[in-house]
Protein backbone atom coordinates (compact mmCIF):
# COMPACT_ATOMS: atom_id res chain seq x y z
CA UNK A 1 0.00 0.00 0.00
CA UNK A 2 1.28 3.42 -0.99
CA UNK A 3 -0.02 6.93 -0.25
CA UNK A 4 -1.99 7.00 -3.49
CA UNK A 5 -3.85 3.79 -2.52
CA UNK A 6 -4.77 5.36 0.83
CA UNK A 7 -6.04 8.55 -0.83
CA UNK A 8 -8.14 6.42 -3.20
CA UNK A 9 -9.86 4.83 -0.19
CA UNK A 10 -10.35 8.18 1.53
CA UNK A 11 -11.96 9.87 -1.47
CA UNK A 12 -14.48 7.00 -1.72
CA UNK A 13 -15.82 8.04 1.68
CA UNK A 14 -16.00 11.79 1.02
CA UNK A 15 -19.32 13.58 1.12
CA UNK A 16 -19.43 17.04 2.72
CA UNK A 17 -16.19 16.74 4.66
CA UNK A 18 -13.74 19.63 4.57
CA UNK A 19 -10.29 18.33 3.69
CA UNK A 20 -6.96 20.01 4.38
CA UNK A 21 -4.16 18.24 2.53
CA UNK A 22 -0.41 18.29 3.06
CA UNK A 23 1.66 20.10 0.45
CA UNK A 24 3.58 18.61 -2.44
CA UNK A 25 2.78 15.27 -4.02
CA UNK A 26 0.04 14.35 -1.46
CA UNK A 27 -2.03 17.37 -2.58
CA UNK A 28 -1.26 16.63 -6.23
CA UNK A 29 -2.42 13.03 -5.83
CA UNK A 30 -5.63 14.12 -4.11
CA UNK A 31 -6.26 16.77 -6.79
CA UNK A 32 -5.77 14.12 -9.47
CA UNK A 33 -8.05 11.57 -7.75
CA UNK A 34 -10.91 13.89 -6.82
CA UNK A 35 -10.77 17.65 -7.05
CA UNK A 36 -13.61 19.25 -5.08
CA UNK A 37 -14.42 22.68 -3.70
CA UNK A 38 -14.16 21.32 -0.15
CA UNK A 39 -10.46 20.47 -0.62
CA UNK A 40 -7.85 22.91 0.68
CA UNK A 41 -4.53 22.10 -0.99
CA UNK A 42 -1.50 23.40 0.84
CA UNK A 43 1.07 24.92 -1.49
CA UNK A 44 3.55 26.08 1.12
CA UNK A 45 4.01 26.39 4.92
CA UNK A 46 5.09 22.78 5.38
CA UNK A 47 4.08 21.36 8.74
CA UNK A 48 0.95 23.42 9.28
CA UNK A 49 -1.62 20.97 7.85
CA UNK A 50 -2.94 19.91 11.24
CA UNK A 51 -2.96 23.51 12.53
CA UNK A 52 -5.06 24.75 9.60
CA UNK A 53 -7.41 21.80 10.09
CA UNK A 54 -7.72 22.60 13.81
CA UNK A 55 -8.68 26.20 13.04
CA UNK A 56 -11.29 24.95 10.58
CA UNK A 57 -12.71 22.42 13.03
CA UNK A 58 -13.10 25.12 15.68
CA UNK A 59 -14.78 27.59 13.33
CA UNK A 60 -17.01 25.00 11.64
CA UNK A 61 -18.12 22.76 14.50
CA UNK A 62 -21.00 21.23 12.51
CA UNK A 63 -18.74 20.10 9.68
CA UNK A 64 -16.47 17.09 9.67
CA UNK A 65 -12.89 18.08 8.97
CA UNK A 66 -10.29 15.66 7.63
CA UNK A 67 -6.64 16.57 7.91
CA UNK A 68 -4.47 14.54 5.55
CA UNK A 69 -0.93 14.91 6.85
CA UNK A 70 2.34 13.08 6.35
CA UNK A 71 5.06 11.91 8.72
CA UNK A 72 7.62 14.46 7.52
CA UNK A 73 5.14 17.30 7.83
CA UNK A 74 3.88 16.29 11.28
CA UNK A 75 7.44 15.91 12.56
CA UNK A 76 7.89 19.62 11.74
CA UNK A 77 5.01 20.63 14.01
CA UNK A 78 4.76 18.10 16.84
CA UNK A 79 3.54 20.81 19.21
CA UNK A 80 0.35 20.85 17.18
CA UNK A 81 -0.51 17.40 18.56
CA UNK A 82 -0.60 18.71 22.13
CA UNK A 83 -2.70 21.72 21.11
CA UNK A 84 -5.19 19.56 19.19
CA UNK A 85 -5.41 16.93 21.94
CA UNK A 86 -6.00 19.66 24.53
CA UNK A 87 -8.94 21.07 22.58
CA UNK A 88 -10.08 17.62 21.40
CA UNK A 89 -12.56 18.71 18.69
CA UNK A 90 -14.86 15.75 17.95
CA UNK A 91 -15.36 16.88 14.34
CA UNK A 92 -11.67 16.62 13.47
CA UNK A 93 -9.98 13.49 12.13
CA UNK A 94 -6.23 13.71 11.84
CA UNK A 95 -5.07 11.21 9.23
CA UNK A 96 -1.32 10.72 9.03
CA UNK A 97 -0.08 8.78 6.03
CA UNK A 98 3.24 7.54 7.33
CA UNK A 99 5.48 6.27 4.55
CA UNK A 100 8.70 6.92 6.47
CA UNK A 101 10.03 9.27 3.83
CA UNK A 102 10.04 12.85 2.58
CA UNK A 103 8.15 11.76 -0.54
CA UNK A 104 8.06 15.06 -2.43
CA UNK A 105 11.80 15.66 -2.27
CA UNK A 106 13.20 12.30 -3.37
CA UNK A 107 12.08 9.77 -0.74
CA UNK A 108 14.75 10.53 1.84
CA UNK A 109 14.05 8.66 5.09
CA UNK A 110 12.28 10.35 8.01
CA UNK A 111 12.79 9.24 11.61
CA UNK A 112 9.56 7.22 11.50
CA UNK A 113 11.42 4.77 9.27
CA UNK A 114 13.60 4.17 12.32
CA UNK A 115 12.81 4.48 16.03
CA UNK A 116 10.12 7.18 16.05
CA UNK A 117 6.50 6.12 16.57
CA UNK A 118 3.93 8.85 15.85
CA UNK A 119 1.06 6.91 17.48
CA UNK A 120 2.98 6.87 20.77
CA UNK A 121 3.76 10.58 20.42
CA UNK A 122 0.03 11.22 19.87
CA UNK A 123 -0.74 9.20 23.00
CA UNK A 124 1.71 11.26 24.98
CA UNK A 125 0.20 14.44 23.57
CA UNK A 126 -3.15 13.39 25.02
CA UNK A 127 -5.17 11.87 22.17
CA UNK A 128 -7.89 9.48 23.42
CA UNK A 129 -8.73 7.91 20.08
CA UNK A 130 -5.69 6.51 18.27
CA UNK A 131 -6.03 4.04 15.43
CA UNK A 132 -3.18 2.43 13.49
CA UNK A 133 -4.03 1.00 10.08
CA UNK A 134 -1.79 -1.23 7.99
CA UNK A 135 -4.40 -2.71 5.62
CA UNK A 136 -6.22 -0.52 3.11
CA UNK A 137 -9.44 -2.51 3.55
CA UNK A 138 -9.75 -1.05 7.07
CA UNK A 139 -9.60 2.61 6.04
CA UNK A 140 -13.25 3.14 5.08
CA UNK A 141 -14.70 1.58 8.23
CA UNK A 142 -12.31 3.36 10.59
CA UNK A 143 -12.93 6.75 8.99
CA UNK A 144 -16.68 6.38 9.38
CA UNK A 145 -16.40 5.53 13.05
CA UNK A 146 -16.57 8.93 14.76
CA UNK A 147 -16.74 8.98 18.54
CA UNK A 148 -16.77 11.84 21.05
CA UNK A 149 -13.02 12.49 20.67
CA UNK A 150 -10.76 13.83 17.97
CA UNK A 151 -9.43 10.88 15.98
CA UNK A 152 -5.76 10.29 15.31
CA UNK A 153 -5.45 7.75 12.50
CA UNK A 154 -1.96 6.60 11.56
CA UNK A 155 -1.79 4.73 8.25
CA UNK A 156 1.50 2.94 7.66
CA UNK A 157 2.44 2.66 4.01
CA UNK A 158 5.37 2.00 1.73
CA UNK A 159 7.17 4.96 0.14
CA UNK A 160 6.37 6.01 -3.40
CA UNK A 161 4.56 8.63 -5.44
CA UNK A 162 2.02 8.46 -8.23
CA UNK A 163 2.94 10.19 -11.48
CA UNK A 164 0.56 13.15 -11.31
CA UNK A 165 0.60 16.72 -12.58
CA UNK A 166 1.02 19.88 -10.56
CA UNK A 167 -2.07 21.71 -9.30
CA UNK A 168 -3.19 24.36 -11.73
CA UNK A 169 -5.34 26.38 -9.36
CA UNK A 170 -4.69 29.99 -8.43
CA UNK A 171 -4.16 30.02 -4.63
CA UNK A 172 -6.56 32.90 -4.01
CA UNK A 173 -9.31 31.42 -6.20
CA UNK A 174 -8.86 28.04 -4.54
CA UNK A 175 -9.26 29.73 -1.15
CA UNK A 176 -12.42 31.48 -2.31
CA UNK A 177 -14.10 28.37 -3.65
CA UNK A 178 -13.14 26.52 -0.47
CA UNK A 179 -14.75 29.24 1.68
CA UNK A 180 -17.84 29.34 -0.52
CA UNK A 181 -18.27 25.57 -0.19
CA UNK A 182 -18.99 26.16 3.51
CA UNK A 183 -21.83 28.60 2.88
CA UNK A 184 -23.95 25.90 1.27
CA UNK A 185 -26.30 24.23 3.72
CA UNK A 186 -25.51 20.62 4.59
CA UNK A 187 -27.75 17.94 3.11
CA UNK A 188 -27.80 14.59 4.81
Amino acid sequence: MKRYDVLKEIVKTLNHELVVCNLGIPSRELYHLKDRNENFYMLGSMGLTSSIALGLAISQPKRKVYCIDGDGSLLMNLGSLSTIASINPANLTLIVIDNGTYGSTGNQKTHTSGRTNLALIAKGAGFESIIVITNKNDIKAKLGNQGPDCNFILIKTNPGNANVNIIKLDPEKMKERFMQSMYKPLKN
Partner: protein, 166 residues
Protein backbone atom coordinates in the same frame (compact mmCIF):
# COMPACT_ATOMS: atom_id res chain seq x y z
CA UNK B 1 -8.91 52.86 32.29
CA UNK B 2 -5.55 51.10 32.45
CA UNK B 3 -3.52 50.18 29.37
CA UNK B 4 -4.25 46.46 29.44
CA UNK B 5 -7.97 47.12 29.62
CA UNK B 6 -7.71 49.59 26.73
CA UNK B 7 -5.86 47.02 24.65
CA UNK B 8 -8.46 44.42 25.50
CA UNK B 9 -11.29 46.77 24.51
CA UNK B 10 -9.54 47.54 21.23
CA UNK B 11 -9.19 43.82 20.41
CA UNK B 12 -12.85 43.30 21.21
CA UNK B 13 -14.05 46.41 19.37
CA UNK B 14 -12.49 45.37 16.07
CA UNK B 15 -14.32 42.07 16.28
CA UNK B 16 -11.56 39.60 17.11
CA UNK B 17 -13.28 36.43 18.33
CA UNK B 18 -10.37 33.99 18.56
CA UNK B 19 -7.01 34.70 20.19
CA UNK B 20 -4.03 32.39 19.67
CA UNK B 21 -1.65 33.16 22.49
CA UNK B 22 1.98 32.52 23.33
CA UNK B 23 2.78 34.56 26.44
CA UNK B 24 5.39 37.23 26.91
CA UNK B 25 6.31 39.17 30.01
CA UNK B 26 5.16 42.47 28.49
CA UNK B 27 1.68 41.19 27.68
CA UNK B 28 1.04 39.18 30.84
CA UNK B 29 -1.32 41.84 32.18
CA UNK B 30 -3.30 41.83 28.95
CA UNK B 31 -3.50 38.03 29.00
CA UNK B 32 -4.82 38.26 32.58
CA UNK B 33 -7.57 40.64 31.46
CA UNK B 34 -8.45 38.29 28.56
CA UNK B 35 -8.72 35.43 31.06
CA UNK B 36 -10.79 37.41 33.56
CA UNK B 37 -13.25 38.72 30.97
CA UNK B 38 -13.57 35.28 29.40
CA UNK B 39 -15.49 36.68 26.41
CA UNK B 40 -13.09 35.90 23.56
CA UNK B 41 -12.17 32.32 22.77
CA UNK B 42 -8.48 31.73 23.35
CA UNK B 43 -6.08 28.91 22.58
CA UNK B 44 -2.57 28.55 23.93
CA UNK B 45 -0.22 27.71 21.08
CA UNK B 46 3.15 25.95 21.28
CA UNK B 47 4.91 28.05 18.65
CA UNK B 48 3.90 31.20 16.78
CA UNK B 49 4.08 29.50 13.40
CA UNK B 50 1.48 27.00 14.61
CA UNK B 51 -0.72 29.99 15.46
CA UNK B 52 -0.49 31.23 11.86
CA UNK B 53 -1.88 27.88 10.71
CA UNK B 54 -4.72 27.76 13.25
CA UNK B 55 -5.60 31.38 12.50
CA UNK B 56 -5.67 30.71 8.75
CA UNK B 57 -7.99 27.71 9.23
CA UNK B 58 -10.28 29.64 11.57
CA UNK B 59 -10.46 32.54 9.12
CA UNK B 60 -11.40 30.15 6.28
CA UNK B 61 -14.18 28.86 8.52
CA UNK B 62 -15.56 32.34 9.20
CA UNK B 63 -13.88 33.52 12.41
CA UNK B 64 -11.84 36.67 13.03
CA UNK B 65 -8.64 35.46 14.67
CA UNK B 66 -5.59 37.30 15.98
CA UNK B 67 -2.27 36.02 17.29
CA UNK B 68 -0.89 37.48 20.52
CA UNK B 69 2.85 36.96 20.66
CA UNK B 70 6.31 38.36 21.23
CA UNK B 71 8.36 39.77 18.35
CA UNK B 72 10.85 36.89 18.55
CA UNK B 73 8.02 34.72 17.23
CA UNK B 74 8.07 36.68 14.01
CA UNK B 75 11.32 34.90 13.23
CA UNK B 76 9.62 31.55 13.84
CA UNK B 77 6.81 32.41 11.45
CA UNK B 78 8.23 34.03 8.35
CA UNK B 79 7.69 31.07 6.02
CA UNK B 80 4.09 30.69 7.23
CA UNK B 81 3.43 34.42 6.75
CA UNK B 82 4.81 34.32 3.20
CA UNK B 83 3.66 30.93 1.91
CA UNK B 84 0.34 30.67 3.74
CA UNK B 85 -1.09 34.06 4.80
CA UNK B 86 0.27 36.11 1.91
CA UNK B 87 0.14 33.40 -0.78
CA UNK B 88 -3.60 32.81 -0.27
CA UNK B 89 -4.35 36.39 0.86
CA UNK B 90 -5.58 35.45 4.31
CA UNK B 91 -5.95 38.51 6.58
CA UNK B 92 -4.72 37.76 10.10
CA UNK B 93 -3.81 40.27 12.80
CA UNK B 94 -0.48 39.69 14.55
CA UNK B 95 -0.33 41.55 17.86
CA UNK B 96 3.24 41.46 19.09
CA UNK B 97 5.11 42.92 22.03
CA UNK B 98 8.38 44.53 20.99
CA UNK B 99 11.18 43.20 23.15
CA UNK B 100 14.85 44.02 22.72
CA UNK B 101 14.70 47.78 22.30
CA UNK B 102 15.04 50.73 24.69
CA UNK B 103 14.34 49.72 28.27
CA UNK B 104 15.07 46.02 27.70
CA UNK B 105 16.77 44.34 30.65
CA UNK B 106 17.54 41.04 28.95
CA UNK B 107 20.38 41.53 26.49
CA UNK B 108 19.59 38.40 24.50
CA UNK B 109 16.36 40.02 23.28
CA UNK B 110 18.25 42.79 21.48
CA UNK B 111 19.24 40.79 18.40
CA UNK B 112 15.65 40.18 17.29
CA UNK B 113 14.36 43.41 18.78
CA UNK B 114 16.58 45.61 16.68
CA UNK B 115 15.65 43.97 13.37
CA UNK B 116 11.93 43.59 13.97
CA UNK B 117 10.83 46.54 11.80
CA UNK B 118 13.36 45.59 9.10
CA UNK B 119 11.97 42.07 9.05
CA UNK B 120 8.37 43.31 8.82
CA UNK B 121 9.28 45.61 5.94
CA UNK B 122 11.34 42.94 4.21
CA UNK B 123 8.41 40.48 4.18
CA UNK B 124 5.97 43.28 3.28
CA UNK B 125 3.82 42.87 6.37
CA UNK B 126 2.36 46.29 7.17
CA UNK B 127 2.52 47.28 10.81
CA UNK B 128 1.05 49.80 13.21
CA UNK B 129 3.07 50.95 16.19
CA UNK B 130 1.12 51.31 19.42
CA UNK B 131 3.06 53.41 21.91
CA UNK B 132 0.62 56.08 22.94
CA UNK B 133 -2.96 56.54 24.01
CA UNK B 134 -4.24 56.16 20.44
CA UNK B 135 -4.71 52.44 20.81
CA UNK B 136 -8.10 51.80 19.32
CA UNK B 137 -7.35 53.97 16.26
CA UNK B 138 -4.37 51.82 15.35
CA UNK B 139 -6.34 48.60 15.74
CA UNK B 140 -9.08 50.06 13.56
CA UNK B 141 -6.56 51.18 10.92
CA UNK B 142 -5.05 47.70 10.86
CA UNK B 143 -8.47 46.07 10.44
CA UNK B 144 -9.44 48.47 7.65
CA UNK B 145 -6.24 47.63 5.77
CA UNK B 146 -6.85 43.92 6.30
CA UNK B 147 -10.44 44.06 5.08
CA UNK B 148 -9.75 46.33 2.11
CA UNK B 149 -6.74 44.40 0.79
CA UNK B 150 -7.22 40.88 2.17
CA UNK B 151 -3.78 41.12 3.71
CA UNK B 152 -2.38 40.33 7.12
CA UNK B 153 -1.04 43.11 9.33
CA UNK B 154 0.84 43.56 12.60
CA UNK B 155 0.29 45.66 15.69
CA UNK B 156 3.59 46.31 17.46
CA UNK B 157 3.18 47.06 21.15
CA UNK B 158 5.98 49.22 22.53
CA UNK B 159 7.16 49.13 26.13
CA UNK B 160 6.45 52.84 26.59
CA UNK B 161 2.76 51.98 26.40
CA UNK B 162 2.90 50.65 29.92
CA UNK B 163 5.06 53.49 31.29
CA UNK B 164 7.80 53.19 33.86
CA UNK B 165 6.52 50.08 35.60
CA UNK B 166 7.00 47.61 32.76
Amino acid sequence: MNVNLKLYEAIKDVGINLLLILPDNMIQGLIQVINEKNEIRQITITREEEGMGIAAGAYLGGMKPAILMQNSGLGNSINAIKSLLQLYKIPILLIMSHRGVEGEKIMAQNQMGQVTFNLLECINLKYFIVNSVKIIENFKNAMTLMQDNSESAAIVLERSLWGEDS
